[in-house]
Amino acid sequence: MAAVTTLLSTRGLSRHFGGLRAVENVDFDLPEGEIRALIGPNGAGKTTFVSMLCGRIPPSSGQIIFGGRDVTALPAHKRVQMGIAYTFQITSVFSALSVRENVELAVQRIYRASPAALRDESDALLGRVGLEGRSDQIAGDLAYGHQRLLEIAMGLGQNPRLLILDEPTQGLSDGEVQSFIRLIHEVARETTVLLIEHNIDVVMALAQKITVMNFGAIIAEGTPEEIRANEAVQAAYLGG
C-alpha cells in the first residue's frame, strides 16, 4: 500500500474574535488527493477555519502546515502561489470585467503564454464549468448561479494543489448541481478538494471523508456512513 502523504494539517489552530471563540484548538489533517467535506451548523466556524488556511484571517494561535512547510506566517498571496485556491462564499468576481477577463486573471499568473493561448485556455475552462459562450458577457450581469460557476472556473484556472470551495452549490439549479458533482469528481483526480457544503446530497455524492464542526471545534470525522450514524452529529444538527 502506498503511503498517503498529508497535504495540509493544522495543530492547535484557534481564532478568537474578542470573547468569541470562533475556532478553538483545531487539529486537522487532509491527505493528498482526497475530497473532504467540512460540514456543521451555521456559525460553527467553518468559514473562519478555511479563511485561516488560505491566509485571509490570521490565527490567534496554532500552526498551519501545507506541503510539509509551515505557512502560518505567510501572507495570503504567497499561500495561493504555493497552490491553495479559495473560492469565496459570498461571490466575489470582478463584476465590471468580462467573464473571460476574470478567468484570464486567474490563469495568467501560472500560465505564461501568448494572449491568444491565454484566451483559449480561459475559454476552455469556462466550457468545463458549463459557461461556454458567455466569455464576452460582463461578469456582474451573470445570474447568481453562473457567477458561482465562474468562481469555480477561477479556482481551477490556478491549477491548485488544494481547492477550497466555500458553499459552491448555493444558488445552483438541480441540473447545475449534478454537473458540479461530475466536475469535482474529475478535478479530484489531480487536486485535493476541501468543500464546505450545506447540501447533504452533494456531500454524500462527493466526500470520501467528512469533518463536522460545531462551536469552533471538530466534533466528528469519518466516512459518510460513520458520520450518518454518529450521535454527536445528529445532536448538533437537531439541537438535541
Binding site: 495570503a76 498571496h77 470582478f94 463584476s95 499568473r109
Partner: protein, 311 residues
Amino acid sequence: MSRALTFHIGAIIVLAALQFILPVYHSGNLARIMVLAVYAMGYNVMFGYAGLLSLGHAMFFAVGMYGAGLSVRLFDMAAAPAFGTGIIASILFSLGVGLLALRTIGVAFMIVTLMFSQAIYLLILYFNPLTRGDEGFVIPRAVRQVAGFDLSDPTTRYFAALLLFAICLLGMVWLVRSRTGRVLIAIRENEERARMLGYDTWAHKLFAVVLSGTMSGAAGAAYGLLFGSIGASFAEVPFSILPLLYVLLGGPGTVIGPFVGTVFMFYLRDISSSFTDAHMLVAGVALVLLTMYARRGIMGVVRERWAKWLP
C-alpha cells in the same frame, strides 16, 4: 498591429501634423496641454487603473520641476542632465511616498497624500533662499538647450512636448494590456479577490505609485525646462486637483482620456475667460453635468458605446 495601437499612433501623428496647421497661439497651447496631459496620465495610473485616489499629486509634479530647476539654478547643470535629475528625484520621492502612504487605505490615503503634498509646498517656501519661494525663478534661455535644439523655440518646444507625450502614451498602451496592467485593474475592481488569486497587491500598488509619481514628475521637469518658469504655485493644493479634474472629464481608466480631459478643461477655461471672470464657475458646471450624465468621462462613454476595444 492592433486597433488600439493604430489608434494611439494615429493620435500622435495627428498631433504632429497640427503643429504645421494650427495658428501659433493654439500650437503654443497644445504644447502646454501635452505636458499637462502627461501629468494627468501619471495621475490616471493610480486613480484610473489601480483605484488609488491621491489628493496631493502636485508634490510629484513639484519634485520633478524643482529637481530639474534647482539642478540648473544651484549646480549649473545643462538641460538634459537636469531633466534626468528631476526624473531620479521623482522616482526616489514617489518610492518614499508609496512606502509610507500605502500603509493606509481609502480616505486616510487621500488625507496622507494631501498632507505630504502640503509639506512639500511648505518646504519650498521654507527654503526661500534656495527656491525663491512664492516668487519662483526663471530658467534662462541659454540653459534651455538640448543637443543644439533650443527648447524655448516654439516649434522645438512643441516637438519636445510631443516626444514626451508620445513615449508616455505608447508606454501606457503597452502597460495596460500587460499582465501587470491587468493586475492593477483587478486591484481597482476587487483588491481582495486579486490577492486571493495569488497577486501581491501591495507590491503592485507600490509600483503604481512610483510609476504615477515618476510620470507626473517628468511632466513637472519638462514644464520647467520647456516654459522656463518655476514656482511654488505648482505645488499648491489647486494644482493637485487639476489632474483629478482632467482625468474625471476625459475618462478614468482610459489611455487617451487624460489628454482629452486636459484639452477640454484648458479650452473651457480659455474660451470662458474671454467673456467672464467666473471661468472656474463654468468649469464647475461642466464637471457637475459630466458627473451627472457621463460618469465614466468622455472617453469612458466613447468606449462603452462605440469602441469596446479602447484600452
